[in-house]
């Protein structure tokens, strides 16, 4: 079974693909059947992925297989599978979360007219994401990379009759495309220079390649893909808007799996980045900046999903930063734990939104703790995990990141990371205190969600508690023994552990004072720092700047080009036509209507032709006419 799963890992993405096809073609009118079928298929994938994980744990050596997708002299594009600890971990996380989210969706999407097609999209997404993580080469990665982007587009715009959803979906796709542009260029460079896009082959060749400058360019180009997909600054703008989609979608795609594809890509291609320290530094600072940037925005937002979205951005920044400072293990570890608790938080938020018939503003909530005990408990577990409180999952992984930053000499980033930890704890508990413990609103009638929704919450809650233990530094064989680049190393620093926990607790305490006890007035602080508050509340006006750029620069270029097309290019064409007509108007006066003029022209022409033929070219000349035969 384990051997079978490892050898035939292509079946893992295939199952949801079958589900997608069957639902689209046969089960569109039977919602229950499509949900059942979709969940069955993803369950099979999950079981197979368990087999894969077991196989990897037994033998961490990479297992690769591939078929040719198309080929020609000088270019061979393959589709294949590469199973090693990193992809094994990803397969497990993705199929697990996908399974839980699909189960949750049965309850959440109840009575939605697009129920069947929702599950079709979910299956398509699962297929694409699983295909992405087991990819053994860049093209396959790119193919599924784009496909998850498509699924994201479709699912953000799932309620397409909402203008906001439509715009958000478009924004997500286009922003990602900008990143993909760079990614594609990077792939092309690799193909041209090395003639292969296979990860294993490239890992062999690249360290021996001498032109570091070019390699840096390539690495940065490839990095633009993750900037788009994982919402790093400056292409982060799509992720908060993506919350227009159904909440389970946000949990699955925009928190736990798709957005970490960028991080995963960097990890997968770490051999490329490891060869160019400059690129790694850029990555580290971009990640660190994004983490801080998003966290500062999160503290002023009021929409429950947007807070979580900015939190996701911030955590993604964390992971990217971890990669940048060389902590591949830390990054992947955080990726996994983050998937657990962020999915949990989103599903919890979904449960709240479901209970409140679509309200998302945290100030319209309040007093949910008594009405929705399971949701509240799991949500708090998730928040604590995110804040990094011992011994929950987030604590271990965040600690690893901070340790990596500090021990590799990035003190600045270490400080930023600590600050972000503080902010994270603060905004999460701001959310918790306001939404769950605040004044209950009279016109709300919340009630606990059905079991089909709470069960995934409980499972994820458990994972958020214990999921981090696999990475405990004191274990002799832990997460880092499998997932690493170069050499595995085990180390820990009690100082960092203690400080980060203290910082997180401070954040929670501050939130407690401001939003539970209300001993510190939040609005007073907001008024005191009006300018900063407005800036943060409006997300640094990045969206407005981009919108202005699109409206004026891009569309402006379009208008200019169209003007040129109509008046210059077509102007020349129509001008030629007009010129032809006008020259006709003038030249027609040569037609005098006088037969004798025509006759004289005719005779003159005869004379000229005789002269030309007979005198200028003697070989065709008059003398040759003779004889008759």
């Amino acid at each position: 079974m384990i051997h079978f799963a490892v050898q035939n890992s292509w079946l893992i993405p295939l199952m949801p693909a079958i589900a997608f096809a069957i639902i689209v073609f046969f089960l569109r009118r039977t919602p229950q059947a499509s949900a059942f079928f979709s969940i069955s298929c993803i369950s099979v994938s999950f079981l197979l992925s368990l087999g894969v994980v077991a196989g990897v744990l037994m033998d961490p050596a990479a297992v690769e297989s591939s078929v040719t997708w198309f080929s020609m002299p000088g270019l061979t594009v393959e589709m294949g599978t590469l199973i090693d600890p990193i992809s094994g971990m990803m397969v497990f996380v993705v199929s697990l979360i996908a399974l839980l989210v699909q189960i949750y969706s049965v309850g959440y999407m109840e009575n939605d007219p697009g129920y069947s097609i929702y599950f079709a999209y979910q299956s398509l997404f699962a297929m694409s994401m699983l295909g992405l993580v087991i990819a053994n080469n860049f093209v396959q990665m790119f193919v599924f990379w784009e496909l998850v982007g498509l699924c994201s587009y479709l699912l953000i715009g799932f309620w397409f009759y909402k203008i906001s959803a439509r715009e958000a979906a478009k924004k997500a796709f286009v922003t990602n495309r900008v990143g993909d542009y760079g990614f594609l260029l990077g792939i092309l460079f690799l193909q041209i220079i090395f003639g292969t896009l296979n990860f294993t082959d490239l890992a062999q060749i690249i360290p021996t390649y001498a032109n570091v400058g070019l390699l840096t360019v390539i690495a940065l180009l490839v990095f633009t893909g993750p900037i788009g997909k994982s919402g790093q600054f400056p292409l982060h703008v799509w992720l908060p808007d993506a919350m227009e989609g159904p909440t389970p979608v946000s949990a699955l795609i925009h928190a736990a799996t798709m957005v970490v594809a960028g991080v995963y890509l960097i990890a997968r291609a770490f051999f490329l980045f490891a060869a160019v320290p400059t690129a790694l530094q850029v990555i580290a600072y971009v990640g660190g900046f994004t983490a801080l940037f998003a966290a500062t925005i999160a503290i002023t937002q009021n929409d429950i999903k947007r807070i979580l979205a900015y939190s996701t951005l911030s955590q993604l920044g964390y992971m990217v930063m971890a990669l940048g400072v060389g902590g591949l293990t830390a990054s992947m570890f955080h990726l996994m734990t983050h998937a657990f608790f962020k999915a949990l938080l989103f599903l919890g938020a979904g449960s709240v939104i479901h209970a409140l018939q679509g309200k998302q503003d945290i100030w319209e909530m309040g007093g949910l703790a008594r009405k929705m005990p399971i949701t509240t408990k799991t949500f708090i577990i998730g928040s604590l995990a995110l804040a990094g409180i011992f011994p929950l999952a987030g604590f271990w992984s965040k600690d690893e990141i901070l340790l990596a930053a500090q021990s590799n000499g990035f003190t600045g980033l270490y400080l930023i990371g600590s600050l972000v930890a503080f902010l994270t704890a603060f905004y999460m508990f701001r959310l918790v205190f306001v939404a769950f413990y605040g004044q209950a609103k009279p016109n709300n009638d919340p009630h606990e969600s059905p079991a089909v929704m709470t069960t995934p919450l409980i499972i994820l809650g458990l994972l958020s508690v214990v999921g981090g233990l696999v990475g405990m530094p004191w274990l002799s064989t832990n997460f880092g023994s499998y997932v690493y680049f170069g050499e595995a190393h085990h180390g820990y620093s009690l100082m960092i552990m203690v400080t980060s926990t203290v910082i997180a607790l401070m954040g929670i305490y501050l939130a407690y004072l401001m939003y539970y006890k209300k001993t510190i007035s939040a609005s007073a602080i907001a008024n005191r720092f009006k300018a900063i508050y407005t800036l943060l509340y409006n997300k640094y006006y990045i969206d407005e700047i981009y919108q202005w750029g699109i409206n004026h620069i891009v569309d402006g270029a379009g208008r200019v080009a169209y003007w040129i097309d109509l008046h210059v290019v077509d102007g020349v064409v129509n001008g030629l036509a007009k010129g032809t007509r006008q020259s006709g108007t003038i030249l027609r006066y040569l037609q005098t209507g006088q037969t004798q003029h025509y006759g004289m022209v005719l005779v003159a022409a005869v004379v000229v032709i005789i002269l030309l033929l007979g005198l200028l070219d003697p070989s065709l000349g008059i003398s040759a006419w003779g004889g008759g035969n």
């Binding site: 020609m72 594009v77 397409f160 009759y161 286009v174």
Partner: protein, 508 residues
């Protein structure tokens, strides 16, 4: 597949002439028998389609080269013969023509105006386009090309639609552009013919024989210029592109489909088979210029798409933009890029035809193509929306649909030769995403609008274009080797014969 490789049976002639026979049969059908007329048109295109699919499958890739050859000497003194044959380059385009021809018949199913004449002209048009792809003779090539132009003019003038420009203007522009192009072609071909005669003493119009003639470099440069202007006009290279959006906007659905889908590809096909392989030195001389203009095509047309309000103009300019990729692939002059260019022609043909079929269907029912008039159509016409989405996603090069492998191959091929141009050209994928998604979003998504509740969704025969073309897009997207392998056999063997270097020149 043994039965089809029977060498005696003239498959290509049957494929080529079945629509023509259909057209002749239609002459004798009374004009009131609308159903019979449509049935005859559908059956004759279906026969061609089935046969061309069989040929596509039966083509022996291990042997490669021209297969299913037929030769009948026609004009002995000029060396013209009715010689047919397909290789890896023309095979996909033949299939494409028949796919689109068949779909076009169904896309015109609701046509009520002069049905008989319409289908007669349509069938002649399909024959003409097909003829250019299956012939091995330069003269016959030009003959079929000229056959194409006239039906198009008549169809645009009679069945076209007047929006920004009148249909008369559109038809005239289209026709005159095509004729100017063909005038250059004629000049170039005569030059080729005469020069080959002077060099070898044999009068021949056979393309493969002409490939072996040792033209001087000087002549090649001039000859390629003439042919290049002709073909590049046809493929709508900047600045010879302005016929394309106006023409498509004015033309009836079926003509737009065939025109954008296949006719344009005659330009690329000719550029490769005649321009590139007969006059390699000329191609090498002019390639950088083509590359520059191709980049212009891609970016310029894509940017223009952003501000278009008419659905057909968006797709019209978008096809100009996509042809830029084909051109840059051709200009890069290596096996990979040319494989990609041909695959892109195929993929774009299917996608553009699907787009026009869907737009035509929508226009027929709503009588407008103005994007701001629409909104939320996915509420009322979900099947039509699926068609739009499929075409749109193919247009922006989504993996899993046929255009991705093609574009990727072009990029790989071109990138080694023209780094900067290719980098600029690839930025087209961003603009494409913007305008396609903007269009799809504004038309299909958003709040339900009461005024469109009366629209009926695709049903009955209207399904056919979506099913046929959609299936092709998905099949060749998931299994690109089905398309890439035959193309590769054709291109590689031709490269081997002309002695062009097959490797991509590394700039590093």
């Amino acid at each position: 597949m043994d039965f089809i490789t029977n060498p005696g049976f003239p498959y290509l002639s049957v494929i080529l002439l079945t629509p023509l026979v259909g057209a002749l049969a239609l002459i004798f059908v009374p004009r009131e028998e609308v159903w019979t007329i449509k049935a005859i048109a559908a059956v004759s295109t279906l026969v061609s389609l089935i046969l061309s699919v069989l040929i596509f499958l039966a083509y022996d890739q291990t042997i490669g080269g021209m297969q299913f050859k037929e030769d009948i000497l026609w004009i002995k003194d000029l060396g013209v013969s009715y010689s047919l044959g397909v290789d890896g380059i023309s095979l996909p385009l033949l299939l494409l023509t028949n796919l689109i021809g068949f779909s076009a018949v169904y896309a015109s199913w609701n046509n009520k105006d002069r049905v008989k004449e319409f289908f007669i002209l349509l069938l002649i048009l399909i024959t003409g386009v097909m003829g250019t792809f299956v012939t091995r003779d330069l003269f016959i090539f030009l003959l079929f090309y000229e056959v194409v132009v006239i039906p198009i003019y008549i169809m645009v003038i009679i069945w076209g639609s007047t929006k920004r420009v009148t249909k008369e203007y559109a038809g005239m522009k289209l026709t005159i552009y095509l004729l100017i192009g063909s005038a250059f072609l004629l000049a170039g071909m005569i030059a080729l013919y005469v020069n080959a005669y002077q060099l070898t003493g044999v009068r021949t119009m056979d393309i493969e024989s002409l490939m072996l003639v040792p033209f001087t470099e000087h002549f090649q440069i001039i000859g390629f210029l003439l042919l290049g202007i002709g073909f590049c006009t046809l493929i709508s290279m900047w600045p010879f592109h302005s016929w394309s959006p106006d023409g498509y906007a004015g033309a009836p659905t079926a003509v737009s489909m065939i025109h954008a889908g296949v006719l344009k590809k005659i330009g690329g096909y000719g550029l490769i088979r005649i321009g590139l392989f007969v006059l390699p030195a000329g191609a090498k001389f002019w390639a950088p210029l083509i590359a520059v203009l191709a980049v212009g095509n891609v970016v310029y047309a894509a940017v223009i798409c952003l501000v278009q309000k008419d659905l057909k103009y968006v797709v019209g300019y978008s096809s100009v933009s996509h042809m830029g990729y084909v051109l840059i692939g051709i200009a890069a002059l290596n096996v990979i890029s040319i494989n990609g260019a041909i695959a892109q022609m195929f993929a774009h043909g299917v996608m553009a035809a699907l787009f026009f079929a869907m737009i035509g269907n929508l226009y027929e029912k709503s009588h407008t193509r103005n994007i701001p008039d629409f909104g939320g159509l996915a509420n009322q016409v979900p099947r039509l929306a699926v068609g739009f989405m499929l075409a749109g996603l193919a247009s922006l090069g989504l993996p899993g649909l046929a255009s991705f492998p093609a574009e990727f191959t072009i990029f790989v091929g071109a990138f080694g030769v023209y780094q900067v141009f290719t980098i600029i050209a690839i930025s087209g994928i961003i603009f494409t995403a913007v305008y396609i998604l903007r269009m799809l979003g504004n038309v299909l998504f958003g709040p339900r609008q009461q005024q469109w509740d009366k629209l009926t969704d695709l049903k009955g025969p209207e399904w056919v274009p979506l099913i046929v073309l959609g299936t092709v897009l998905v099949t060749f997207g998931i299994f690109p080797y089905l398309l890439m392998d035959p193309i590769n056999t054709g291109v590689t063997s031709l490269f081997a014969r002309t002695g062009l270097s097959t490797v991509i020149g590394g700039g590093f």
